[in-house]
């Protein structure tokens, strides 16, 4: 079974990669398996300066998922280039840098610095857990197009824009970043949520709200990818609750070209490798002979009138 494919900037040996923020910079997972097995690695977000992130508690469990509000804690783009990328570069896999910021200038600065060291960028305009920047760029199509265009201009490698699901019309956002010059999309980031402890009568997470991830959000991700695939001509890295090889197939059928695995890494640090190993047999089970055949395979309704079509 051929699992490999080419996407802008990326030669993927398989369609599975860990999602940003769920894999740090790889070191912790390298003790469990050879990271060269991965299709790619999406690094934890980089900002211009180092960030300490939010107060604790930063996570809370939910039904079939979790809330997190880490707050983009990272050592800053320079330290990531000097101390983290050299380690990841020793593995035979593609590296995608997640680029975050509070201002367009910061996004551009981070992108310009880090793009020389990686194969592609994932532009993070969708982090729900920081007060400034992040999600406002991800919820306003005009701002999204503007920051995308400037980052594309500054970057030496293709730019995938990570979309927020916390919008009324995901297709408008996808179209805006396509217009801004994005080479691809990655979707979806977490859904904003909250949990309250009856004993303290207060939100459990120190930031009050957090991003919901895990199996609980998978149907939302599938629906949004399915919608966007029909309207936008960009490859999609799909994410949101991938936990099994069957989930990978579901994302590809909806229209993703590859998938990123997020919170499931926290439950089982071997999950990416296990899914990669299982994928050929799962594809065979459903009668597929290649990855290309699966991508967008749920879209025969295009011939009819899909209910989500605008």
């Amino acid at each position: 079974m051929k699992l490999s494919q080419s996407l802008p900037g990326l030669q993927l040996k398989n369609p599975v990669m860990p999602a940003s923020g769920c894999f740090a910079f790889g070191k912790e997972f390298a003790q469990f398996y050879d990271l060269s097995e991965l299709g790619a690695v999406i690094m934890k977000a980089a900002t211009g300066e180092k960030r300490f992130g939010n107060g604790t508690p930063r996570v809370a469990e939910t039904a079939r998922g979790m809330l997190n509000a880490i707050g983009l804690q990272n050592p800053g783009v320079d330290a990531i280039i000097e101390e983290e990328i050299p380690f990841l570069s020793t593995f035979d896999t593609s590296i995608i840098a997640n680029v975050a910021g509070s201002t367009v200038e910061e996004y551009v600065e981070v992108a310009a610095k880090i793009s020389a060291h990686v194969h592609a960028l994932e532009l993070n305009i969708s982090c729900p857990n920081v007060k400034e920047g992040g999600v406002q760029f991800g919820t306003d199509p005009m701002l999204a197009e503007e920051v995308t265009a400037q980052v594309v201009e500054a970057s030496e490698v293709p730019v995938y824009v990570k979309l927020s699901p916390n919008v009324t019309n995901i297709v408008d956002m996808a179209k805006a970043v396509e217009k801004g010059g994005a080479a691809g999309l990655s979707m979806i980031n977490t859904l904003t949520g909250m949990r309250i402890d009856p004993k303290t009568r207060k939100p459990i997470i120190a930031n009050q709200t957090g991003g919901l991830s895990g199996a609980a959000i998978k149907p939302v991700a599938i629906r949004m990818i399915h919608q966007v695939y029909q309207e936008v001509n960009l490859p999609i890295i799909g994410m949101g609750g991938v936990e099994t090889a069957d989930d990978v197939i579901e994302f590809l059928l909806a229209g993703a070209s590859a998938v990123a695995i997020g919170s499931a890494n926290f439950k089982n640090p071997l999950i990416c490798k296990e899914i990669i190993d299982e994928l050929p047999r799962a594809l065979e089970t459903y009668g597929f002979t290649s990855i290309e055949e699966v991508i967008g395979g749920a879209h025969d309704e295009k011939a009819r009138a899909g209910i989500f079509r605008a």
Partner: protein
């Protein structure tokens, strides 16, 4: 660290809402220090793993003893696991108490509630090195107390309970002024508010504290369980840089 399905050899209640769980498997052979923990996937009803400190272990028999208290759904579900079943365990995690570096005459151990368990194997190892041990144990009430006899075999023990049903009424820290004069170092585990009080009262002594926090991955990747530190780096991850820290290394809120 590895992931393993460990076998449950014993599982019984030892105090109010408090259970003793004995697991067998290869992970035990990887334990390097007392105070490390394991990260347990309780079942499909909970999403994240639950960190539980290792209270004691036996290299030869490949067994470890965990003492845990029911705090919510995860630990509640754990109580229903039976002897003979296997449990999805990741471990051993983190850095424990650096027993090898300790060369004192007399040390003080201070445990509060479910912070008491990781001090037990530490006490055994310190005792084996010929170090005199004084232990302060604090619980809510007599019904919550455990490991008293075990610690008494290893040295002098002073107990306090919040309601006075066992030992002295009050907090574990109430004993400190009476015992601090003769000790060279302290080791403590319990709620952060207790760790803060202990480290302030014993600010002139070297000490190690073991912390707890809600964890995500338990391997250092998710940055859920961070604590501020005094150095330029600015933080420590409790799951992998800790859970044991030198008292002056971290900022206790």
């Amino acid at each position: 660290m590895k992931r393993e399905w460990m076998t449950i050899l014993e599982h019984q209640t030892i105090a109010r809402d408090t259970y003793r769980l004995v697991l067998q498997g290869d992970i035990v052979r990887d334990i390097t220090e007392p105070g490390q923990f394991v990260h347990i996937q309780v079942g499909s009803g909970t999403y994240l793993r639950r960190p539980v400190s290792i209270s004691d272990f036996d290299f030869e028999k490949k067994t470890m003893t965990l003492l845990y208290k029911v705090m919510g759904k995860g630990t509640e579900d754990l109580t229903r696991k039976s002897v003979g079943e296997s449990l999805d365990v990741l471990g051993p995690g983190g850095r424990g108490f650096p027993v090898d570096q300790v060369d004192d005459d007399h040390v003080l151990l201070i445990g509060g509630g479910i912070g008491v368990p990781p001090l037990y194997n530490l006490a055994k190892q310190l005792k084996a090195k010929g170090i005199q041990i004084t232990t302060l144990l604090g619980f809510q009430s007599a019904d919550d107390a455990f490991l008293l006899d075990e610690f008494e075999e290893l040295g002098e023990v002073f107990v306090s309970t919040n309601d006075g049903t066992l030992g002295r009424k009050g907090f574990v820290t109430d004993w400190i002024s009476e015992v601090k004069a003769t000790v060279d170092r302290y080791f403590t585990c319990g709620p952060t508010v207790m760790l803060k009080a202990v480290s302030e009262q014993l600010a002139d002594l070297p000490g190690y504290i073991s912390m707890e926090e809600r964890m995500g991955c338990g391997i250092g990747a998710c940055f859920a369980c961070v604590v501020p530190s005094h150095d330029e780096k600015g933080y420590r991850r409790i799951c992998c840089d800790g859970p044991v820290f030198e008292a002056k290394e971290v900022v206790l809120a």
